[in-house]
């Protein structure tokens, strides 16, 4: 069968909402796009452990500490599910990790911002996880089976993350003046970066939208971003706090909130590696990996020894 026919058949499956599974025929670019997106997503989970892990030792109560540890640990799990999904496409985790460490592969830029106060744990949960969840819920229906299944599992576990974040802020918003200020400051710092998480505006994209056609992605950046803003604009009222955007206003005609312009200069700068923490984040990941090398080697060597002993016996 000529390749075009394969591609037609493939597209027909996608159009009929039939999931694509690892051994199925797929266009090379579909495979590559999925590998890239899933591995970036995995890297984001792993690098995302660092800004929150930063506060584990200083969590203000034993309860908060337990919650935070469990949450950061979940992120490790989510990274693991996603690496596994990408591995079904033929790329090993080791290669993906190498690409992350060499700077070839990217991760979500949001994690290049520092977590400066305890309130950041709340803001990250509410805004960053909140933004991520919209994307993740959509991805539960993505066309590549293993990716979709990983996302279903992740969404199930993730649902507590945003809630605990909001609750953390809620407690601060009802606390002392210093805590209130801490709360507002964290919201101010995390608001715009979390809007950037959805990526460039739809109008900025040049070519035909293959990812939508392949149903890897099912909503556009702007659709998701608007959905997020509409939700956050209401939720912030419960906190008695404000979002740092003077142009934020309900538009009765559109039935959506209007909002101000995102600083895309900052966005691309952080993507290019000039964010406040790009360097530290990558260094931390590299260090963990390099220092783990002898451990991984020893475990393999021991497994090998034990195998040959069992064979001999």
């Amino acid at each position: 069968m000529p390749v075009q026919d394969f591609e037609q058949l493939f597209q027909k499956k996608i159009d009929n909402e039939v999931k694509i599974e690892p051994k199925d025929w797929m266009p090379d670019a579909y495979r590559k796009t999925n590998i890239r997106q899933i591995s970036q997503h995995a890297h984001s989970e792993i690098v995302g452990m660092l800004p929150e892990g930063n506060w584990i030792s200083r969590a203000p109560s034993l309860k908060r500490k337990a919650i935070l540890i469990a949450k950061v640990q979940d992120e490790a799990g989510h990274g693991l599910y996603l690496y596994s999904a990408a591995e079904t496409l033929g790329m090993s985790r080791e290669e993906m990790i190498n690409d992350l460490h060499s700077g070839k592969a990217k991760y979500s830029s949001i994690f290049n911002y520092p977590t400066l106060t305890w309130a950041d744990m709340g803001a990250v949960g509410w805004l960053v996880d909140g933004a991520a969840i919209l994307n993740q819920v959509m991805l539960c229906r993505t066309s590549y089976g293993p990716y979709a299944r990983a996302m279903v599992r992740i969404c199930k576990e993730e649902s507590f993350h945003q809630r605990q974040g909001f609750e953390t802020l809620l407690v601060l918003s009802r606390g002392t003046d210093e805590q209130k200020a801490m709360c507002q400051d964290a919201i101010n710092r995390w608001w715009w970066p979390s809007l950037m998480m959805f990526g460039p505006k739809d109008s900025e994209s040049t070519n035909s939208d293959q990812s939508m056609k392949w149903k890897i992605k099912r909503k556009t950046n702007d659709e998701l971003r608007q959905q997020f803003i509409d939700m956050a604009a209401e939720q912030v009222k419960v906190l008695g706090m404000t979002l740092p955007d003077e142009k934020l206003k309900w538009n009765a005609e559109r039935k959506h909130y209007d909002f101000g312009e995102i600083d895309w200069n900052e966005f691309w700068n952080v993507v290019k590696g000039n964010g406040p923490c790009n360097k530290q984040r990558l260094e931390a990941r590299r260090k963990a990996h390099e220092e783990g090398q002898w451990v991984r080697e020893a475990a393999m060597a021991f497994a090998e020894k034990r195998r040959s002993k069992q064979k001999a016996a």
């Binding site: 203000p60 490790a76 963990a288």
Partner: protein
């Protein structure tokens, strides 16, 4: 303030599990491989849960405004009664899993006895926790064997870890004045036997003679504890009385 022996003992159990949890949690996001990052974090969570149970019990014994958080966050270096072993730095993965094994093996024997003690609450906490401890022993002893008998490098690192940590194991079996519920000195032989078995499988051996450091149970710590508490207690100290 003079505490009853029961309170001090409960705090000793609480502090030890909290500090080890705090140490293990430092690995979160920095483990040698994702799967083991998750594993050590799980152990950290288990220990944190145990410490909370002990603190909560101590708080009810103390009464008044005492709470798990006031006990964990507002007591000072000299008031902490944790074992010296658990406050030692993580070092490399070998040192961390050895510390875990040496303690878990002890904790297992301790909780076996504690779950039969006359204090219903301590017995209940021990009975609940010992399942976790059983797993910690299993997980950490496997790692000791794996690294001891892995590569030349891992073997050398384990020798170094033993050299680093062994001096803090003697304290576990020297009872503090408040430590009357379980006779820890009587756990020593069995502990040593078990450790010896694991070490021999790991092609490692127990140091012949080493001076044993003492003091943690009575609030005389290594210099490391101060830094742990600085981190741990930072927010509670900076914003006194705030709710989180």
């Amino acid at each position: 303030m003079m505490n009853s022996p029961l309170i001090d003992y409960t705090l000793h159990l609480a502090d030890t599990t909290l500090i080890l949890s705090q140490r293990n949690a430092e690995w979160c996001g920095h483990g040698p491989i994702l799967e083991q990052d998750i594993a050590i974090t799980n152990i950290s969570l288990d220990l944190l849960g145990q410490s909370r149970n002990f603190y909560q019990y101590a708080a009810t014994l103390i009464g008044g405004d005492a709470s798990e958080d006031s006990l964990a966050y507002l007591r000072k270096e000299r008031e902490f009664k944790n074992l010296l072993l658990v406050e030692q730095a993580n070092g490399d993965w070998g040192q961390t899993i050895l510390r875990q094994y040496l303690y878990s093996q002890f904790q297992y024997l301790l909780f076996e006895k504690l779950q039969q003690c006359n204090d219903a609450q301590l017995a209940a906490i021990a009975a609940k926790s010992i399942k976790e401890t059983t797993y910690h022993v299993r997980w950490s002893s496997e790692w000791v064997i794996r690294l001891g008998d892995g590569t030349e490098e891992s073997h050398t690192r384990m020798l170094k870890a033993i050299d680093e940590l062994w001096r803090y194991t003697g304290e576990m079996f020297v009872p503090a004045a408040y430590e009357t519920i379980v006779e820890v000195s009587r756990l020593k032989n069995e502990w040593q036997q078990k450790v010896m078995n694991i070490f021999s499988e790991a092609t490692l051996s127990i140091p012949e003679k080493m001076f044993m450091q003492n003091g943690g149970k009575n609030g005389i710590h290594t210099e490391q504890l101060g830094y742990i508490l600085t981190d741990l207690q930072y927010l509670q100290r900076t914003y006194p009385g705030a709710e989180w």
